[in-house]
């Protein structure tokens, strides 16, 4: 995706393929903190999954499986929304 296409190489009729943004990594937008999952206390409510702006909470077979750090921007919504008590099953932690 780094090499720029010449006009003869463009997809025809101004089309753009679906899902092509997956190749664009926004993980480097994080400012030093990333969400960390604590699966042992996670109740699998999936609220983190629906609240994520970047579709960066990975799910499989109806269960949350972790984070897509290549795209997670570190906004912290998932940790903020996580309802588990007394400890959250998602915490924002330093990446350094």
């Amino acid at each position: 995706m780094n090499k720029l296409m010449g006009w003869k190489e463009l997809p025809p009729c101004d089309q753009l393929g679906a899902k092509t943004a997956e190749a664009f990594e926004t993980g480097d937008w994080r400012l030093g903190e990333k969400p960390v999952w604590h699966p042992d206390i996670c109740i699998q409510c999936l609220i983190c999954w629906i609240s994520c702006p970047d579709s960066a909470v990975t799910v499989e077979g109806g269960k949350m499986t972790g984070f897509d750090y290549k795209h997670c921007k570190g906004c912290g919504i998932c940790a903020h929304e996580c309802p588990t008590k007394p400890k959250k099953s998602i915490t924002m932690e330093s990446e350094k």
């Binding site: 296409m5 753009l16 679906a18 092509t20 190749a23 926004t26 999954w49 609240s51 702006p53 919504i77």
Partner: protein, 307 residues
Amino acid sequence: MATLKELSTRKDPLTGGHRACSGCGFPQIVRMVCLASKDPVVVVAATGCLEVTTTIFPYSAWTIPFVHNAFENAAATLSGIEAAYHALSKKGKISKKINFVAFGGDGGTYDIGLQSLSGAMERGHDLLYVCYNNQAYMNTGVQRSGATPLGANTTTEPAGKVKQGKMEKRKDLTEIMVAHDIPYVAQATVGFWADLTRKAEKAFSVTGPKFINVLQPCRLGWQYKPEETMAIGRLAAETCFWPLYEVENGKYKITYKPKDKKPAVDFLKKQDRFRHLFKPQNAGLLEDIQKEIDQRWEELLAKEEKV
């Protein structure tokens, strides 16, 4: 209504890799609405944050068919697609049931897009229009729109020495849509996923024009910490600043009645776009805002009781 577990097994309309701000609120709206549809969805978006950040060539975050035309014509463009769908279905060229959704920001819906929205609703096309309402023209730098609330600071009606932000009340587009006599109109917030998803499901289950006005906090324009997007969206409903209701064939139903209605300041103080209102000389404005909220809430309650 589908559970989150069920929704998580469906095709996510968006991938990561788009350029929406960290902590944005519109992608969740897109996902909540599109995932609520069991049938495939075709999306048209107006020019704005949603369209611009998700389709920067050669990267598209959309996993479903997506068309962008211009700023003010999402509803008209989708009307054309819907009509063609009927034409081609009649000819036997298409047999799948497809749901049609237009996404427009408040700028592209309340203001420049109002005409084409009104026309589409009046003509009875079978489509859903969702306004992701962050109460200003955010993509171009937080300019005021017809949806900007009283007292808010925007770059074209800023708070300064002589003026205190927007001095006009916001347009009530949801009520304008009700006046179009369409089968389903609703107001929702990104902060309550279940309410919005249920409303989207309801919309997809009826034939004809549908409209959902979804409040979307914007961390950049409203100025708060990014992780609070969903929480502030909830606060808007808890203070009745943004009531959650639906109107089905003219019948009003409030879908969220806060047990203890919180004062408007609880909502306003969380956002720097209202910071100037907390100066002592603006106390009167704060009162006006509370009065407006209370008045609209009372009117809404009355409409519900009427049935």
